[in-house]
Each structure stands twice: as C-alpha cells, then as structure tokens.
Symmetry: C2
C-alpha cells in the first residue's frame, strides 16, 4: 500500500532511541507531566532538536480523544458579517491552541447538516455555528459542545452569542421617526422567523410608541438576500407619491445593499429623495456617499466571544451565562433626511 509519506517521518521512537531512553520518557518530557531528571530531560530535548521531531497530532488525538480542533459552520464566506465572525473566532482559537475545520452550508439541504456533523464529529471537539436558517435546524441531538452565533431560539437553551435585535429595530425606527418620518417602509424579514422577526418587533414597538400607524403596503417581506432589498425597494419607490415611504428600514446587510442598488438604478439620491437605514457596518454603508445610518454590531468580537464560549465548555470551566448579548450602537450618517414637521 502506498502510504504517501515521502521519507518516513521522525517519530517518538526515533527520539527515544537517539536519547537512549524509553518512549514513555520522551512523552513525559514532551508533555512536562511527571518528574523527569534534568539530565534525561536535556538528552531528550537535544534529540528532539537534532531530529526535528514534531508530534503527530493524529496519534495524540487517537489516544486522548481530543483533537484540539473545532468545526465552524457558516452560510458562506462572501458575506462580510460571516467573514468578520470567522476572523474573530479564528484569532481566539489560535491563541488558545485550537484549530478550525470550516464548512459553508450554501446550498445545503436539510439533512446535509446532520451528515456533516456525523461525519466529522470524531474529528472535532466542538462546533461553532452561524446558522443560515436559524429556525429550521434542531441541534438537540448533537453531543459535542455547541455555540450558536447570531441566533436566539426562544425557549431553548443553547449557548449563543447575539445582539438585542429588537432594540436594533427599535433604534432604527426611532431614528426615522425623530426626523419626522411617518411613512416608513420595511424591507426583508419573514413573518414568524426569529431573527428578522425580532428586528421587526422592535420596529413595531417604536411605531406604536410614537403613535404612527404601520402601513402594511410598505412591508416588503422576504429572505435576507440582496434580491429582497432590490425588488422591495423598487416596489416602494414606484409607489404613487402619496404612498411612497419617505424612509425605509432594511432588515440586514444584504437587503440594505439591494436597496441601494435599486435606488441607484432609479437615480434616487439617498438622504434626499428617500431615507434609508439598516444593519451592519458594511463597506457600502461606510464609504458610499452619503454614508448609511446603521446599527453597528461588534462582528469580530461576536466571533471571539463565540469561540471563547466554546473553549470554556471544552475546558469545563465555569460559564457565567449561556447567552452572551453584545452591545450595539446606532451609527448616524447622512442617509436620513430631516423632514420639516
């Protein structure tokens, strides 16, 4: 059989022979566990150095049952929110001596998730998930430590890292309201879905609080992709004058981008012809002219916190709270017009 190893690797055996000790002694030196005499320790370390020995992680994992690897699952890598979360998680894991096996669930069917976990559960110590459809999955049967990022499922008690989505929706709506907007449109958010649902709930609360009725005709529901924003905004813009909203809330980053695309096509100037607010501080929100007023989430930190929560579980450390709620912030730019009242 072709073992594909090239020149045979240096093993602990070679080190033992070279140092003139038993392999168990080498192991002890390497792991710094038991008492070892300074003399033999020195001999072993020299042998390791001379031979260029590196532990074989596979063999270690075989016997310890721990792989020091975690599995991270994200919807896809081209969404900048996911990218930031991965960045934060990977940095923390690296610091802690963990490695990341990564998968995207783009085009996943229902059962694929289950298969993925089954197939790799022995290769990883824990799982970090940014769910694509937070409401569809049941993570109950997973035996490994699990942390969900950007996903809260009421009534269940997973370890999660979230933001207060309702507060976000509320802040955005209030920002429009305080600037005199009363015809407010909404793009994205599926009825009954948790994530968009919370944001919408916050929006509704603000509207109620300020005594402004919600016009159902301005609610452009749909999946959280660019297309929903693009088509929704076009419909809103093309409404007759007295119906057309003066301000629009995009429920997430992609729908916001879709809105901007639609408005650009229509030749509408944001912050002038129409006001737009959204979630996440993506490139377009930050650098387009005018900048977009958005809810800023600490994306990289969300990844870090998720990884931290996972590692704490792996180490069986005391964990303060299973749900970590991160702070958000309203970043005001020039996409909201101040209407005369």
């Amino acid at each position: 059989m072709d073992r594909d190893r090239g020149s045979r690797d240096v093993t602990i055996k070679d080190v033992a022979k070279r140092a003139g000790v038993a392999i168990s002694t080498v192991s002890r030196v390497l792991n710094g566990l038991d008492k070892v005499s300074p003399k033999t320790e020195k001999k072993v370390k020299e042998a390791v150095e001379e031979l260029g020995y590196v532990q074989n992680g596979l063999a270690v994992s075989m016997v310890t049952g721990q792989t020091r690897t975690i599995m991270m699952v994200v919807p896809d890598f081209t969404n900048d929110f996911n990218g930031a979360v991965i960045q934060g998680a990977e940095e923390y894991l690296k610091e802690q001596g963990y490695t990341m096996l990564i998968f995207s669930t783009k085009d996943f069917k229902e059962e694929d998730f289950e298969n993925l976990y089954r197939r790799f559960s022995k290769l990883v110590d824990g799982v970090l998930v940014v769910p694509a459809n937070p409401d569809d999955m049941d993570y109950g049967r997973w035996e490994k430590p699990l942390v969900l990022i950007d996903c809260y499922r009421p009534g269940q008690d997973y370890y999660t890292v979230e933001i207060d989505n309702a507060k976000g929706g509320y802040l955005l709506a209030r920002e429009l309201l305080l600037n005199g907007h009363t015809h407010i449109g909404l793009v994205g958010g599926i009825p009954g879905a948790s994530l968009g649902g919370q944001r919408i709930a916050g929006f509704e609360r603000a509207m109620k609080e300020y005594g402004v009725p919600i016009d159902k005709r301005l609610m452009m529901r749909g999946l959280h992709f660019e297309d929903t924003g693009y088509r929704g905004m076009k419909k809103l813009w093309d409404l007759p004058d007295r119906l057309r909203p003066t301000g629009v809330i995009a429920v997430n980053n992609l729908t916001c981008i879709g809105c901007m695309e639609a408005l650009s096509e229509r030749g509408a100037v944001i912050g002038q012809d129409i006001s737009l607010v959204g979630f996440d501080d993506h490139l377009l929100a930050r650098y387009s002219v005018p900048g977009i007023t958005v809810i800023v989430r600490p994306t990289i930190e969300m990844g870090r916190e998720g990884a931290k929560l996972l590692v704490q579980q792996l180490r069986k450390e005391e964990i303060g709270q299973k749900r970590v709620v991160m702070e958000i912030e309203l970043k005001r730019r020039n996409s909201v017009k101040r209407l005369l009242v």
Copy 2:
C-alpha cells in the same frame, strides 16, 4: 484519564460482532474493495445502519497516512477577495470529499508560517495559500503538495493560480488614456514587489505606448491597504491644480476603497471632479454611485481552480500546466470622465 468520549462510540468491532463477521470483512464492505458475498455485505450494511456506525477518520488517517484534509492559509477573512477564494475552494473540496483546515496569517511574524506548517503538516495532505507578502516567503522546504493563489514568483515553479496582472494594469491605464487623461496618478504598489509591480509594469507599458510621460510625483506607493489609498488620494487631491491628476489607478481593492473614502471626505465627485479605476469588483465598486470601472477577476473560480490543482496533485493525476492564468475583464462603469481633447 478523562477520555471525554461520552457514551462510548460505536466502532468497527461492534459492527463486526453484530453482523457476526470479522472486522476485516466489515472494512472490506465499507471500502468496497475485495469481493464480498452479497449475503455478508447485506448483513454488514444492516449492522452499520442499526448501530449508526460512522468511521473514525482519525484511525483511518493513522493507518492510511492520508487525512483528506487540506490546510488553507489566507491573510485574513474580512477581505472580500479572500472570502470569495475560500468560497470557491471550499465548495470544490467538499465535492471531492476533502475538508479544509483554515488559518489566517494576520499579524504573522516571519517564522510563524514555518511553525504552522510544521505543526500541522501531519494533519493535512496539502496546502493552499493566498500569500500576504508574496515575496517574503520561501515555500521550498514544504514537503506537501502546495498551491499558491494570486501569486506568481518569477523564476520559481510552484503550482499557482493567477491573473495577468500586467494586462490588468495596462487595461486600466489605457481606459484612462483613451478617455483623454494624461495626468494619471497611481496609488499603492511597492517598488520591487511582484504583485503590485506587475500591475505597475502594465501601467507603464500603456503610458509608453500612448506616449504619455509618467509623473513621479503622482505615484503614491505603499502597502496594499486602505490607508495607502486614503492618504495617497488625499495627497493627490490636495496637489495644486496644474499638478493634480485627472485620473487615478488604485492598485488593488483596499487601496481603491481608501481612495473613495478620501474623495468622499474631500467632497469630490468621482467621475466628475476626478476619475478613478481599480481592481476587483467589490461592493463599493459595484453599487456606489457612480460605479467604479474595475478589472474583474473570477475570484470564486480562482479558489476552485486552486483547490482543483491541489487535489490533482494529491491524486497524482496528470496536470496540464502548473500555472493557471485566469481571464480578467474590464468592467466599465461611470467613474471615468470623458475629457475633451
């Protein structure tokens, strides 16, 4: 010792016992290698099903010497080019039954790369790298199959996936020249560095071809980060009228974004007060108003091709060419003003 396994996993032994055969028979059925009688095959498959047996990848790798895992290394995850490359690579690898161990090299020191490889080389079959500093690293000592993405090093013969960077620089410069620009500025690109160097070489060729002299004072060299674009563009914009360039080439996506930020701060309108062209079809280039004329690279496909090149090596398949050069395309938008000549 705490083996951390929860209830003991089902092993091949359990399957063998349940099916009333030897473990080697189970193995044969699982791997579909030798002849096995239909009867025993059925028995084994039933046992697998009933017990919910899943192969332990660790043990398999131990004995086969292959992990079916590759190591991917990128500068960071928040750059959309890297995200797209990862997306393409991961999709292809998943299709081919491979898994991806991922690392970012942000804040890496020189020797970290070497350590990373040494530490994990036994856990992976091959390596896929998007280099941060293409010129600094020497990948010569790596024993595993290796593919470099977006990096060509003259005189060496790695497996690489690239574009014709010189052509890209040429096309951008020509676009400005054909629109009547003769005062052309450049942002990014370090003298002697390969990647930016090639793009600049293409720019220089175009300038020469069209008989337009290069004004050294308009060359804002620097690392390929936003900051270089931001500061470079400010300097260019603040130049006295007769010196200020009418058109600027950003050497990559981040410097382009930095340029846009600077111009926005200065209140300059792109495509009107100044023209801007760059590389990569990022969010801002695509959806800001006006859109930016850019060289579009097939980013996801570059990831796919890189992964393909790697898997072909792993399978010891015949490989047509070690350097895969992907097609690029000039995407015209409204960031270039047509000057009267």
